[in-house]
């Protein structure tokens, strides 16, 4: 493959840290930069939701005479309050609900990916370390079986098992949102297990691990201190791509009425409610939550692709 040698690329003495190297690779791709900006925008919305939202997301406002909720963008209520993006069927401010809905969506996505990573990395690390033994066989067959369920079907079945809304298992009460995080984490943890196992297998064959073994390091030490740091890049790539999937699954569950429950502001639920008002021409009711979900998925996809190209040059060359 021929490529123009860029100025300064092979300059002598241009030592770069790993982070600089990564940034240089990442920056080259404009689309991944856009993805990064989109993700930052969502993080900003989620963190500062209480400051950004003009109204309480569950407060209901009355439409003035001659008008009905849902009201179109730029309408005012009886007391003259302005609603930039209109109101929903109960007279709640769409903009505020969208901002808080974004916050909830990211909470669920980040929460479930964290739990999925914890479960998946542990499973994958143990399986990889014990490769070829019955432990590995057992864990990986379990992963295969989990992956044989279509993911949304599995998530729906798990909601079916736990019930809709909050659940009680003996003395433990789980709020609905934690339950959804668990459901999604269970659904997606096998994918992290696969990535982690592959990394551990690859690293175990290297000299530094052999050196650590010879010098008498314990298994836990080798796994945590030696191998785990090398697993961070592929796990980050996987996590970013899985964020897109998780955002989709979370809002799909809410759209079906099996995820977040009213009156909690949720983008998927807003779309579900909006369906009843399509014939009124209430486009804002659909476009705002739908657009926000789509843009989030787009952002995480772009960022994930960019991270993969920047962190895994072998893959990147294949794709270019």
């Amino acid at each position: 493959m021929t490529r123009e040698i860029q100025r300064g690329e092979y300059e002598l003495g241009a030592h770069r840290t790993l982070l600089q190297e990564f940034w240089r690779n990442f920056r080259r791709n404009k689309l991944s930069l856009i993805g990064g900006v989109i993700v930052l925008f969502y993080a900003f919305l989620a963190v500062f939701a209480p400051l950004l939202a003009p109204y309480d997301p569950i407060e209901q406002f009355d439409a003035p005479r001659g008008m009905r909720n849902p009201m179109p963008p730029l309408s005012r209520d009886v007391d003259g309050r302005l609603f930039l993006l209109g109101t929903d069927k109960f007279g709640r401010d769409i903009l505020s609900r969208a901002i808080y809905g974004t916050r909830t969506l990211l909470q669920v996505a980040v929460g479930s990916i964290s739990i999925a990573m914890l479960i998946g990395i542990t499973m994958g690390a143990v399986a990889g370390y014990k490769a070829g033994t019955w432990v590995d066989e057992l864990l990986m067959r379990a992963v295969d079986i989990m992956l044989s369920f279509p993911s949304l079907v599995l998530a729906i079945a798990l909601v079916g098992a736990f019930g809709i809304g909050k659940i009680k298992i003996g003395p433990i009460v789980l709020s609905n949102i934690v339950k959804i995080m668990l459901v999604i984490a269970i659904t997606y943890s096998p994918r992290f297990a696969r990535v982690m196992r592959a990394v551990v297998l690859q690293e175990m064959a290297k000299d530094y691990v052999a050196a650590a073994k010879i010098s008498g390091a314990s298994s836990a030490r080798i796994l945590l201190a030696e191998i785990l740091p090398n697993a961070i890049p592929p796990i980050i790539v996987q996590a970013s791509l899985m964020m897109a999937t998780t955002v989709l699954t979370t809002s799909s569950l809410s759209f079906l009425g099996l995820g977040l429950q009213p009156p909690r502001p949720s983008l998927g639920l807003m779309l579900n409610e909006a369906r009843d008002f399509l014939f009124w021409g209430a486009w804002w009711y659909v476009v705002v939550p739908g657009g926000l979900i789509t843009l989030a998925i787009l952002g995480f996809n772009l960022l994930g692709d960019g991270l993969r190209d920047a962190l895994d040059p072998r893959q990147a060359r294949r794709r270019r």
Partner: protein
């Protein structure tokens, strides 16, 4: 090849068995369940509860319940619906629903393949030029737009804007009105197909580019082989293996998308049955749909394995070449 297939098939059956065991016990660990759904609050009393549990066989130990269920399945009996369609055999409901989902799946896969192959090939051949940029942008949009949003947008355009009866969903059996059948399935199939078309065309582009850079393709080009021959024999065939994997994944996960599209377009298929079953806590229905979903996945994976052997002689002759 045969040994390989037998091994894969055995594994598939085993997967199905364990998956069914998992889903069966999972749906029974949480207290309440269907009994809660069946009893109205004012009639609630322990005697009635116990009686119901006994009638539904829920008072037996878990392993006995499972053995009974599995034994019945082997005789073609999937149990009866306890809440949704009280007393109807699940097998009968399932077959009717499966037919609708299968029609939707076939139509959407055809759309996906018809769109993604030309798109992926054009994208790879005109790499980094205008057609490629446009098609990649479209594919990125297709991957990122959730099914339910695209579906609602189409309903707004065709149902609300253009006031078409078929634009708002519903289902007409083929036997009643073939044209109406097609029109009613068209929008949901487009929604479902868009997602898969985007994924398949992205993979096709990537793996064609890789194949185009391979040594044997360059040699053939240098020897002056006709472009068409070269494309089909050398490039497409080499590029197909990862593409087949992606198509298999799409086909195996069709029920995921079907859940959303069927609910949105009010189609009486398996996906909407699953959601209704979960709402109603109708255990026999839910577990039957999930087992069918896993069964479809397992079957599709077997077909994919067969295709690998057909595409790549190394797998065909080398036992388990993967």
């Amino acid at each position: 090849m045969r040994a390989y297939l037998v091994k894969r098939a055995t594994f598939g059956v085993l997967t199905l068995f364990i998956a069914s065991l998992l889903i069966f016990s999972l749906l029974r660990v949480v207290p309440g369940g269907p009994v809660d759904a069946l009893i109205e609050e004012e009639w609630d009393d322990p005697v009635l509860r116990a009686q119901l549990r006994h009638e539904l066989g829920l008072d037996l130990p878990l392993h006995l319940q499972y053995a009974r269920w599995l034994g019945n399945i082997l005789h073609g009996d999937l149990g009866v619906s306890i809440v949704l369609y009280q007393g109807e055999p699940v097998g009968k409901i399932l077959l009717a629903r499966l037919a609708v989902t299968a029609q939707l799946a076939l139509l959407s896969l055809s759309i996906a393949l018809l769109v993604s192959f030309p798109a992926g090939i054009v994208s790879a051949l005109w790499r980094d030029r205008l057609p490629d940029h446009l098609l990649r942008l479209l594919a990125l949009g297709g991957v990122s737009t959730p099914n339910f949003f695209l579906g609602i947008a189409l309903i707004v355009v065709f149902g609300v804007g253009l006031r078409r009866g078929w634009g708002v969903g519903g289902y007409i059996p083929f036997g009643e009105d073939p044209w109406g059948w097609l029109l009613h399935l068209l929008l949901p199939a487009v929604v479902l197909g868009t997602d898969h078309a985007a994924t398949i065309s992205r993979m096709l582009r990537a793996s064609m580019l890789e194949a185009l850079g391979r040594g044997h393709v360059l040699t053939a080009k240098a020897m002056g082989l006709p472009r068409g021959d070269l494309l089909i024999r050398d490039v497409l065939r080499t590029a197909m293996v990862p593409v087949v994997t992606v198509i298999g994944n799409s086909a195996g996960a069709l029920l995921d998308g079907a859940v959303i599209t069927e609910v949105l377009f009010r189609l009486p298929g398996l996906g909407s049955l699953l959601v209704q079953g979960v709402y109603a806590r109708d255990l026999p229905v839910v577990q039957a749909v999930v087992v069918v979903a896993v069964g479809i996945r397992v079957a599709v994976n077997l077909v994919v394995d067969l295709t690998y052997g057909f595409l790549d002689p190394r797998i065909r002759y080398g036992g388990n070449g993967r």
